[in-house]
């Protein structure tokens, strides 16, 4: 995959990749994606997201944001594998967030703060993606940009996490899969 292709995927709007309605999408933008290696995304918490929840983004929604990141990577991988656009892929498959392993929370995210998902791809086989994510929070978009500027090569290995990044959660073995639509509706 060329850098340009990767850039095109990353520049896709999450609404193009995911099937969720706009109020349920917890990714503002993809930041970086490399097949077999990882995907980064971020989301700025909106007042609607903390309604009835004392201005704090729920833990389950932090998981959802990372899960959406995982299934986005799954869509990007399957799109490349099949040589089809994501729009074409979505006609035949649903990218489903199926499960996860251990979750550890270290902090919380408040309204207007930005959570950053740094997800490492563990494996992809038979349309199933497994990633482990570290979720950080920052307060400004400039800090988000600083993370990407830290990637000096084409790989995330050794990526320095800026000091201002506060670890919020470690979410292991997040599972996303491209499930054939007919399998969903025939079961």
């Amino acid at each position: 995959m060329t850098g340009i292709e990767r850039q095109n995927w990353v520049s896709k709007a999450p609404a193009e990749v995911l099937v969720h309605g706009p109020s349920k999408i917890y990714i503002d933008k993809y930041l970086w994606f490399r097949p077999e290696e990882g995907i980064f995304s971020y989301y700025k918490v909106q007042p609607k997201d903390v309604f009835d929840h004392f201005d704090v983004f729920r833990g389950v929604d932090i998981i959802e944001s990372a899960g959406q990141t995982a299934v986005s990577a799954c869509a990007m991988m399957e799109s490349a594998k099949q040589g089809k656009s994501i729009d074409e892929l979505k006609k035949h498959f649903r990218m489903a967030f199926l499960g996860m392993g251990e979750a550890r929370f270290h902090g919380f995210v408040k309204v207007h703060e930005i959570l950053v998902n740094i997800c490492t791809i563990k494996h992809y086989k038979f349309r199933q993606m497994v990633v482990s994510c570290k979720v950080y929070k920052v307060t400004t978009e400039a800090e988000v940009a600083a993370l990407i500027s830290g990637i000096k090569t084409d790989t995330m290995k050794g990526l320095p996490i800026p000091e201002s990044y506060e670890l919020v959660a470690e979410l292991n073995d997040m599972i996303g899969r491209a499930v054939p639509i007919e399998k969903i509706y025939n079961n």
Partner: protein, 89 residues
């Protein structure tokens, strides 16, 4: 390779899966269900299929894996069918 050989290979794989009910594994048959009878999480089934590729030296087609249900018989059919295709090509 016979169907029993494949079943034996599947048993070998499942012996290393922590989530599998090892007592139930003693009574496995082609009619057993990985999820309902052996306690295998549905998401783990993909790993078992991936290990079956290694065990039997085959490469399964994604579409064939999509079509699998959770019955042991379906996985044996997949292995036998893939091997037959491999022999014919």
């Amino acid at each position: 390779m016979t169907r029993q050989d494949v079943l034996d290979g599947i048993i070998k794989i499942l012996k290393d899966v922590k989530t599998v009910d090892q007592e139930a594994l003693k009574n496995i048959t082609e009619d057993s269900d990985f999820i309902m009878d052996l306690g295998l999480p549905s998401t783990e089934l993909i790993n078992v299929i991936a290990n079956a590729e290694d065990e039997f030296g085959l490469e399964f087609d994604d579409d064939d894996v999509d079509a699998l249900d959770s019955k042991v018989k379906a996985t044996i059919d997949l292995v036998m069918g893939t091997q037959q295709k491999s022999n014919e090509s």
